[in-house]
């Protein structure tokens, strides 16, 4: 019996499911974009259903990967970025349901599409060899932190739309999309909800990471640049939540702060991971 056969077949399933989820996300994006142009309740519901369908398909693709490597996909570029995209989709769908607002869907699904297309083009899709076993606590740590980054990415998108919308309102040049976009108040509430999700996930993820590390080595490595910048991110988003309800920061300034915070997240996710930290270098 050829020992490579199961791996090949798993890889094939992941391939198919990944491409299929990409196609469903594309269909969802088209529906979301169409309702921006010509709102139709039924099409809006279809867009949400398609997004949910894409999420389910991507979940099974990730599940196949996870079964092969016996943990959440974090040790290869395709797997970890795919997990990020999936959590972004899940968070957005949750916010859409909670706030009853679909007009942001076109932007989020576009982001998902671009992200996943680049992944398919640039990152190897093959399932990597299984990494050393690190246990469920570590898996939760990785998943929660990725979820936090996805939620922060969503708050970034919402804040960017807020700033654009505010700019249009002040410029008085109101094109067609302006009348279809969500109100500033809705964008503000959605961005805050997203940050709440991100903060909760990041706090839990950091705690789990620290516990896992302590169990493994008996230390906490609080001086590691990755830990320091993560605590800085927690503080920055905490400040955002506090300031976004204060008289001098509420509105545009808070949205700008949210955008800046995400730049720090990107810095942590890329530069710090690759060049500064002793761990968190998985690929």
């Amino acid at each position: 019996m050829n020992p490579d056969r199961p791996r090949e077949s798993k890889s094939l399933v992941t391939h198919y499911l990944s491409y299929l989820s990409l196609a469903v996300y594309l269909a969802s994006f088209l529906c979301y974009a169409w309702i921006l142009y010509a709102p139709q309740a039924l099409l809006g519901r279809l867009a949400s259903v398609l997004l949910a369908g894409g999420i389910v398909l991507q979940y099974f693709a990730l599940l196949e990967r996870s079964r092969w490597i016996h943990t959440v996909p974090y040790n290869d570029l395709f797997g970890s970025m795919s997990l990020f995209a999936w959590l972004l989709g899940v968070t957005y769908l949750g916010l859409e349901f909670f706030h009853g607002e679909r007009t942001v869907g076109a932007f989020v699904t576009l982001l998902l599409l671009v992200w996943l297309t680049l992944l398919h083009l640039l990152a190897p899709l093959e399932v990597p060899p299984a990494p050393p076993a690190r246990g469920p606590l570590f898996a939760f740590h990785v998943t929660l932190n990725t979820w936090a980054y996805a939620a922060f990415a969503l708050s970034f998108v919402l804040s960017m739309i807020y700033l654009a919308q505010d700019r249009v309102l002040h410029s008085r040049r109101l094109g067609t999309p302006f009348w279809r976009f969500p109100a500033l108040d809705v964008l503000d509430r959605m961005a805050r909800s997203s940050v709440y999700v991100g903060l909760a996930a990041l706090s839990a993820g950091v705690v789990m990471g620290l516990i896992w590390q302590h169990r493994l080595s008996g230390t906490y490595s609080l001086g590691d640049p990755k830990v320091i910048i993560t605590i800085a991110i927690l503080a920055a988003y905490g400040a955002y939540l506090k300031l976004s309800r204060s008289a001098n920061w509420r509105g545009v300034r808070a949205a700008r702060l949210c955008v800046c915070n995400f730049v720090v997240v990107l810095f942590s996710y890329t530069i710090v991971n690759l060049y500064f930290t002793r761990f968190h270098r998985f690929f």
Partner: protein, 439 residues
């Protein structure tokens, strides 16, 4: 001799729709108000037209911008629009000399197209206005409940309501605000979203302020306060709109409450200064304030425009937005017209299918009558033919008619191209003289 009867029940022959009416483009308001129908008059007119046998189905639409009479003529071979026009003028006692081209007439696809354009708001004074769809629905429902409509007008009006809804949903024709008052309220929605639970303060009690209050109320504004130099006028507007009047002197004390401030006060000095608005925003913990300044001269000090979290629009800003919206709506006309053509084609296809059935039945009738006449004449000269042979001849000739009709029936019902089918129906009518009265 036993021959089957083909007289049958009354069938649909040529399906016509006729329209006579006037609107804001063809007639001035002085004329339109003379030819307006009250709802009772509209139903009475429909009854009268049907009682006289002029129309089988009738619906009257009467709004401030139009009076139109839609009907399905009882006699398909006659142009009913002239008779409808005479009825229209005599109903309102308008001498024919006064018409002077103010009434228009349309028939068949043109009448249906006109109805669909009316429903879409393309024929309205304010392009894409929403009210006309409601007025159309009411007029049709009343006629339907009264029994004045039939299958043809039911189909046409249901199609009109559908196309009206679709155009508003799928195009920008009805999407953007076209009045200064509505533009102000819609802009406030861009900041606050749903206005339920929000607070509005209206300064001034003039007609424009009243329009804004009406729009705010329609959008379920949470609380409404009105302040005016004349407290009585403020109290009057507040009472009518379900708000609360505020004394002009105590204005500063309530400034920290409203999310939306609308000013329309006749004054030469600014009513709201930068300091007042600064204090108001501060009292609201920095929550945004949306101000619509409809006053000329402006009621809000211009230097307030730069305040953080203040969204300030004056009458010129709103005028520019309304103008942009008007252009955007106009740009959507071709898309709306394309949707209308789609629906007109659907209606025409339905009409053609119905007419095809009708014309085949008419032809069959005609052939059977000729056949009966011929057999009777010829067999009278042949007494030697037995009853069995006569029955056989009758059967064979009947089968011959069915075979002859089989191919045209198929072509008329399922042939390709609506235009070709309608042309074939017209040709058959003409060739066999089917419009020249039923024999």
């Amino acid at each position: 001799m036993a021959t089957p009867s083909h007289a049958g029940p009354a069938r649909v022959a040529r399906i016509q729709i006729a329209l006579v009416g006037c609107n804001h483009r063809t007639a001035p308001v002085e004329f339109r108000e003379r030819v307006a129908f009250t709802p009772q008059q509209a139903l009475a007119a429909a009854d009268e037209l049907r009682r006289q046998g002029m129309l089988e189905e009738a619906v009257v639409i009467s709004t401030c911008n139009r009076s139109e009479l839609y009907g399905v003529p009882a006699d398909s071979g006659v142009d009913a629009s002239q008779a409808m026009e005479s009825f229209f003028t005599s109903f309102h006692n308008i001498p024919a000399a006064e018409l002077n081209g103010r009434l228009y007439r349309r028939s068949d696809a043109d009448a249906v197209r006109h109805l669909f354009r009316v429903a879409a708001g393309l024929d309205s004074m304010m392009l894409g206005e929403a009210e006309i769809l409601g007025q159309l629905r009411t007029a049709y429902s009343q006629a339907l409940d009264h029994g004045a409509t039939g299958p043809v007008l039911n189909r046409a009006f249901q199609g009109a309501l559908e196309v009206g809804k679709r155009i508003r949903a799928e195009t920008e024709v009805g999407a953007r605000p076209m009045s200064v008052a509505l533009a102000g309220v819609k802009l406030a929605e861009r900041v606050f979203g749903n206005l339920k639970g929000h607070f509005a303060l209206i300064l001034g009690a003039g007609s424009v302020a009243e329009q804004v209050v009406e729009h705010l109320r329609n959008r379920g504004i949470g609380a409404l306060r009105v302040a005016n130099r004349s407290f009585d006028r403020a109290a009057d507007l507040a009472r009518r709109m379900g708000g609360e009047a505020v004394a002009w002197d105590s204005l500063e004390s309530v400034m920290g409450l409203p999310d939306i401030i609308v000013t329309s006060v006749g004054t030469t000095e600014a009513v709201l200064t930068r300091t007042m608005l600064e204090r108001a925003i501060s009292a609201r913990s920095g929550r945004p304030v949306f101000v619509v300044d409809l006053g000329v001269p402006r009621n809000v000090a211009p230097d307030a425009a730069g305040l953080y979290n203040l969204y300030l629009y004056n009458i010129d800003d709103l005028g520019v937005i309304v103008e942009q919206n008007k252009k955007a709506r106009e740009q959507e006309i071709p898309r709306a017209e394309a949707l209308i053509e789609d629906h007109v084609a659907k209606f025409e296809a339905w009409r053609a299918a119905l007419e095809a059935t009708s014309i085949v039945d008419d032809l069959r009738d005609r052939f059977h009558k000729h056949r009966e006449l011929l057999i009777r004449e010829k067999l009278a000269e042949m007494p030697e033919v037995s009853p069995e042979e006569r029955a056989r001849i009758a059967h064979i000739t009947e089968e011959l008619i069915e075979r002859v009709l089989e191919h045209p029936t198929e072509k008329l019902r399922h042939g390709r191209g609506l235009r070709g089918r309608l042309a074939a129906i017209e040709a058959l009518r003409h060739l066999f003289g089917l419009d020249e009265g039923k024999d």
